[in-house]
């Protein structure tokens, strides 16, 4: 028995230290990950407006609506603006394409999402879904803008 103990004892602490190290490493990685996530996300969370492109992983992956992500013609050169609700200003996403887009394609996309075309008395033509969401296309400038607003 004594020989058995002498044989096993040197190995036991090695196993315990290894598990402890693994646990400490895991916790450290978690803390760093949470800290990084906080560092990367907080500037967007506590901002009333910001702009970015598809290359900005945090706002694009975590904070962008699928309507925007799936918009026709969206590429790395397109600029995405987000406005939080601020008093009378509704919240929403606005895509500013790098150049002109085919407006008919954008219209078909909005209709496929369930939007219906209406004539806004103040702002002209727009698309409404469920009385809670509005989309619009602005093609008057050198670049096309596709926007999605939350009306509630």
């Amino acid at each position: 028995m004594m020989g058995w103990h002498l044989c096993m004892d040197p190995n036991m602490p090695v196993v315990k230290v290894s598990r402890k190290k693994t646990l400490i490493t895991f916790i450290t990685v978690c803390i760093f990950f949470i800290a990084w996530l906080g560092y990367a996300v907080i500037p967007y969370v506590f901002s009333l407006d910001y702009s970015y492109t598809r290359r900005n992983w945090v706002p694009y992956t975590l904070l962008t609506s699928n309507e925007v992500k799936n918009a026709p013609g969206l590429d790395d050169a397109s600029l995405i603006f987000y406005d939080a609700r601020d008093g009378t200003k509704p919240s929403g996403f606005h895509i500013r394409y790098a150049g002109k887009q085919n407006v008919e394609v954008l219209k078909k996309y909005l209709i496929s999402l369930g939007y219906q075309e209406v004539n806004d008395p103040v702002l002209g033509k727009s698309w409404i879904a469920n009385s809670t969401k509005e989309a619009y296309i602005n093609d008057a400038d050198e670049y096309t803008i596709l926007g999605f607003l939350n009306l509630k």
Binding site: V45, S47, L48, G87, T88, S91, L123, N138, L151
Partner: protein, 234 residues
């Protein structure tokens, strides 16, 4: 919270849902604030109230700011006697908007909200809200009458005076930023609203039983930090 890169060409102003332009009549105009969406919703609420069977209907008006799950704002609730003419409805809507705008901007300018935004009582906010009101109740293209300057000129004004959020305007009056001249010091000064933006007076006759204040707007009314918990953040 307006930024330099929000400045757009004046030709775009009529259809834009966001952006910043400078008017020689109204000063800076935030086109996001000047959409009048709040007024459209409020007038629709009044239209529905007028066809209910009850002699009175409730009106709730709110303004809030949302930041990814955090919400804070102000709301107000009035009980309105049925039978209001369109002009009276506009007058009531204007009074609601003006009261809540002042409370909400006051909220934004206080801690902790002013740590994140300089939007509270920003020079362009109140006057932009007022323009949004008139765009809905008296629909027409106001921009040709507002003497908008080109984007290049507007950028010059911004660069000379600095961010518009630095200048606080607690009145529904234009805060004008005169064109910088070489030999003369210029400073922002208050202008006068054009006559087409003073045609409607805010409702203030609370003694005739037409409007009863059910819940006045105050610093803490409608203040909420989570989705859906109070009127302002519904």
């Amino acid at each position: 919270m307006s930024k330099r890169e929000d400045i757009i060409e004046p030709e775009m102003a009529g259809r834009a849902r966001r952006g910043l332009v400078y008017s020689e009549i109204l000063g800076w105009i935030d086109l996001g604030h000047a959409q009048g969406r709040d007024i459209i919703n409020l007038l629709e609420e009044m239209r529905r109230g007028e066809i209910y069977t009850d002699p009175y209907y409730d009106l709730v008006y709110a303004q809030s700011m949302n930041m990814s799950g955090f919400c804070a704002g102000n709301s107000i609730r009035w009980k309105v006697k049925k039978g209001r003419s369109l002009h009276e409805r506009h007058s009531i809507a204007l009074a609601l908007m003006m009261q809540v705008s002042l409370q909400f901007e006051g909220l934004q300018v206080s801690a902790p909200y002013n740590w994140f935004t300089d939007s509270g009582f920003s020079a362009e906010d109140l006057v932009s809200n007022l323009l949004g009101f008139y765009r809905v109740v008296r629909p027409m293209n106001y921009f040709p009458h507002l003497k908008l300057i080109s984007k290049a000129k507007a950028l010059e004004r911004w660069d000379y005076y600095g961010a518009v959020g630095v200048y606080k305007n607690k009145l529904f009056r234009p805060l004008l930023f005169p064109e910088p001249t070489v030999n003369k010091a210029v400073t922002p000064s208050y202008g006068t609203l054009p006559s087409f933006m003073t045609a409607i007076q805010p409702f203030n006759n609370f003694n005739k039983g037409v409007v009863e204040i059910e819940r006045p707007s105050s610093r803490h009314d409608g203040l909420a930090f989570m989705y859906g918990s109070k009127y302002a953040c519904r």
